[in-house]
């Protein structure tokens, strides 16, 4: 299982008391493969793949945990479809 820049998100802004397990819980249900705490309120988290990283950023970036804590979730993943994105014609 290779370390891959695409699988990484930076998470910050969560309550200072959280340990690595608490940080992993923030990103539920995305699958967390590794966490490095980089400061009192920031961590680098490895998820399973770039798609989960992309969705975690969409879902959690800017999310308000409570009135004092707003999550910041950022990554380097840029979606690069080979042809223009087409969505199904009905939902």
């Amino acid at each position: 299982r290779g370390a891959d820049m695409e699988n990484i998100v930076k998470v910050s802004g969560y309550p200072e008391m959280l340990n690595a397990f608490g940080v992993a819980q923030l990103l539920s249900p995305y699958r967390v493969n590794g966490i490095t705490l980089t400061g009192p309120q920031s961590a680098v988290v490895t998820l399973e793949n770039k798609f989960q990283v992309y969705q975690a950023v969409q879902e959690f970036h800017g999310k308000k945990l409570d009135r004092n804590h707003k999550l910041e979730v950022i990554s380097n993943v840029v979606p690069s479809p080979a042809v223009q994105v087409q969505s199904p014609s009905f939902k």
Partner: protein, 95 residues
């Protein structure tokens, strides 16, 4: 790669896709399935004649169920594509 199509997955949340347009990459397939729910894994796996094969795993059973609801007889109709979607069965039955 973190996972491959031969690894174990959450049961009943995985799909085999046939008829993937040959100019698509994994992001194209991902965006189609993301419109139904959260995607755990997605891959475009190579050519059969002029179409490609794909594998998609949804992150939960609820997300997979949302995909099934949008299937017409195992087929997903889009603007310029028709995907043939079938359930992925794990071999051995773990999970």
């Amino acid at each position: 790669m973190a996972s491959s199509s031969t690894a174990f997955y959450l049961k009943d949340a995985g799909f085999h896709i046939r008829n993937v347009p040959k100019e698509w990459n994994d992001w194209n397939l991902f965006h189609v399935f993301q419109s139904f729910g959260r995607v755990g894994y997605c891959r475009v796996a190579g050519h059969s004649n002029d179409m490609q094969l794909g594998f998609v795993n949804m992150l939960s059973h609820a997300d997979a169920e949302a995909v099934r609801k949008n299937l017409n007889d195992g087929t997903l109709f889009g603007d310029n594509y028709t995907l043939k979607v079938s359930d992925h069965k794990n071999i051995g039955g773990a999970f």
